[in-house]
């Protein structure tokens, strides 16, 4: 480390004389350091914490401005609200699971499947865009593909004589919407798992083989245990991502589809629930669910950090 005697003209050092601290005196935190972080925290307080707290606070407010648990209870008792949460949770679980599985396969194929290097770069950049592709353009793209007059629908009908809508399939359902959501779930999985897969060192595979193991052993005892926290953590991230999605669902069906985000958006725009406290309670419910998922994600991330340096 730099000799302490030469760090004398550093104006930010606290007066320590020539004592030998573990760290050079010039780098000890002083009050001036807080200048750097205060704007950040002030911003977070005003535009992140206070609005969120105001939501929490007002969920317990009745139209007469008294304290009430009615709004929160309504979430568990009113059918349309229960259905909204159920539908949102369903889509989130489906797309988290599906996104995690196929996204992982895709990432694995591109990174470790022996495909040309250029394909990996191609998929990574594409994933960067696709994970942001949402809302009206995405909705339309899928309507134009598997909607009533979609490209695939018509192709299947003319070439295979098979009308997918006769089987009752419609894109305007939980499953249909899930298929659309995958468009940004797969890329998200690919982007986040790529570094994790990079962290799987070749030596481990070789060591496994040297000891007489095959692919199954490698995966069962080495790769999957290492990747599992990352996989699960990312799956949770996907869950949260789908749960909070608004623009895409709205672009499809406006308020015809009953999801929590749509309900909240409708509440902002038109007081359709005739009760502002209820809107806040819905938002509170979302915050709770998302907090739990983020906590899970953080915990799993820390467990991964052991292996991926």
């Amino acid at each position: 480390m730099a000799p302490e005697s030469s760090i004398r003209n550093d104006s930010l050092s606290t007066t320590q004389g020539d004592a030998q601290p573990a760290r050079p005196p010039g780098l000890r935190p002083g009050w001036k350091d807080w200048i750097g972080v205060v704007p950040f925290f002030a911003f977070a307080v005003f535009f992140l914490f206070l609005p969120s707290m105001s939501i929490v606070y007002r969920s317990f407010e009745s139209p007469q401005h008294t304290f009430t648990l009615d709004n929160v209870i309504a979430i568990f008792t009113e059918r349309s609200l229960i259905n909204a949460y159920t539908a949102s949770l369903k889509i989130s679980l489906i797309t988290a699971a599906g996104g995690a599985v196929f996204g992982f396969l895709l990432a694995y194929a591109v990174i470790m499947g022996g495909l040309p290097r250029a394909i990996r770069t191609f998929l990574t950049t594409f994933s960067g865009v696709a994970s942001n592709f949402a809302g009206v353009p995405l909705a339309f793209a899928f309507i134009a593909t598997i909607g009533n007059a979609g490209l695939i629908t018509r192709w299947l009908e003319s070439v295979l004589g098979f009308d997918i809508h006769q089987t009752g399939f419609t894109i305007y359902s939980i499953w249909g919407l899930s298929i659309v959501y995958m468009y940004f779930q797969f890329p998200l999985m690919v982007l986040i798992m790529a570094p994790a897969l990079d962290g799987l060192r070749r030596e481990w595979r070789e060591a496994c083989e040297n000891l007489g193991g095959n692919s199954y052993h490698y995966w069962r005892f080495i790769a999957l245990p290492i990747l599992l926290p990352s996989l699960l953590g990312t799956a949770i991230l996907l869950f949260g991502n789908a749960f909070g999605a608004y623009a895409t669902a709205y672009a499809f069906s406006g308020s015809f589809i009953n999801l929590v985000t749509i309900l909240i958006g409708a509440q902002i725009q038109g007081d359709v629930l005739y009760n502002p406290g209820l809107g806040n309670a819905l938002a509170l419910g979302m915050i709770v669910i998302m907090s739990l998922s983020m906590a899970g994600y953080s915990w799993l991330q820390q467990r991964t950090a052991r292996w991926v340096r």
Binding site: P24, I55, G113, G114, V129, A141, F186, M294, S298
Partner: protein, 261 residues
């Protein structure tokens, strides 16, 4: 062991590519049908001729610039100081950057409107709320980019070396640290750009002109041109991300992930 491409890798890749590109092709095919009976680029021509396109695109560009400035101003000093001098604050800062995932855009807008829509603090008439919303959205990605960049360069050694050579803090920050963060900062900037340009929720619910709501409005009012625009914007974003990759070659990979939906 022979490491040639396995057949399964190709199968998965092809399925993935089909899933991603068929909807894009369907949109493209539709956008070419503006003139009855034959394929043409009429929709594209009309899309660019619309004055509202230029106006809304311009607004979004302005929001982008303001957001990037705000985001950089908040994140870079905080990340640097936490990294260098207050590592104990790191978990707190990281928690803050995870908050935007916990509070989705819809919910945050709701809270912002209720809190700042009425006295004592009325912000609803000015774009401050919108920019604040965008900065919140971009916070996780900007922080992660800067943080990754700071980890990749040895900040401590650089700072100490500069200090030992007699540099003041100003010089250290602007002539030693920032140039080394160039790629990380660019990556954060481009990501913020991609997010703000396509953002819909905040702009729409707060009623500000921007490209996202514009896309939705013309989507509701016209046929063919909105689809053309959607593809153009997809291409432009892909281009900018490709640019990051190219600029960032040779630097340890930084995770770039998706935005609000």
């Amino acid at each position: 062991m022979k490491r040639g491409a396995s057949i399964w890798a190709w199968v998965i890749l092809i399925i993935g590519l089909l899933y991603f590109f068929i909807p894009l092709i369907a949109t493209f095919e539709f956008s070419l049908r503006a003139i009855k009976g034959r394929y043409s680029f009429e929709a594209y021509r009309l899309a660019f001729m619309d004055p509202a396109f230029v106006r809304n695109f311009g607004y979004s560009l302005m929001w982008c610039v303001l957001t990037i400035i705000g985001s950089l101003a908040l994140v870079v000093p905080a990340a640097y100081w936490v990294h260098l001098r207050m590592p104990r604050l790191r978990p707190v800062v990281e928690f803050v950057t995870l908050m935007p995932f916990v509070v989705p855009a819809v919910v945050l807008t709701f809270g912002l409107i209720r809190l700042y829509g009425a006295p004592p603090i009325v912000l609803i008439g000015s774009p401050i709320l919108l920019i604040a919303g965008y900065v919140v959205l971009s916070l996780p990605y900007m922080y992660r980019a800067v943080d990754t960049g700071l980890r990749a360069i040895d900040v401590r050694t650089l700072t100490e070396a500069a200090l030992s050579l007699g540099a003041g803090w100003g010089t250290i920050l602007f002539r030693v640290i920032f140039p080394n963060l160039r790629v990380a900062l660019l990556s954060g900037v481009f990501l913020t750009f991609a997010i703000v340009m396509g953002e819909f929720t905040f702009a729409s619910l707060l009623s500000w002109p921007a490209f996202g709501p514009y896309m939705e409005e013309i989507g509701a009012m016209r046929a063919y041109t909105p689809q053309a625009l959607a593809l153009v914007s997809f291409g432009l974003t892909w281009g900018s991300i490709g640019l990051i990759q190219w600029l960032g070659r040779g630097v340890p990979s930084q995770g770039q992930v998706g935005g609000a939906h």
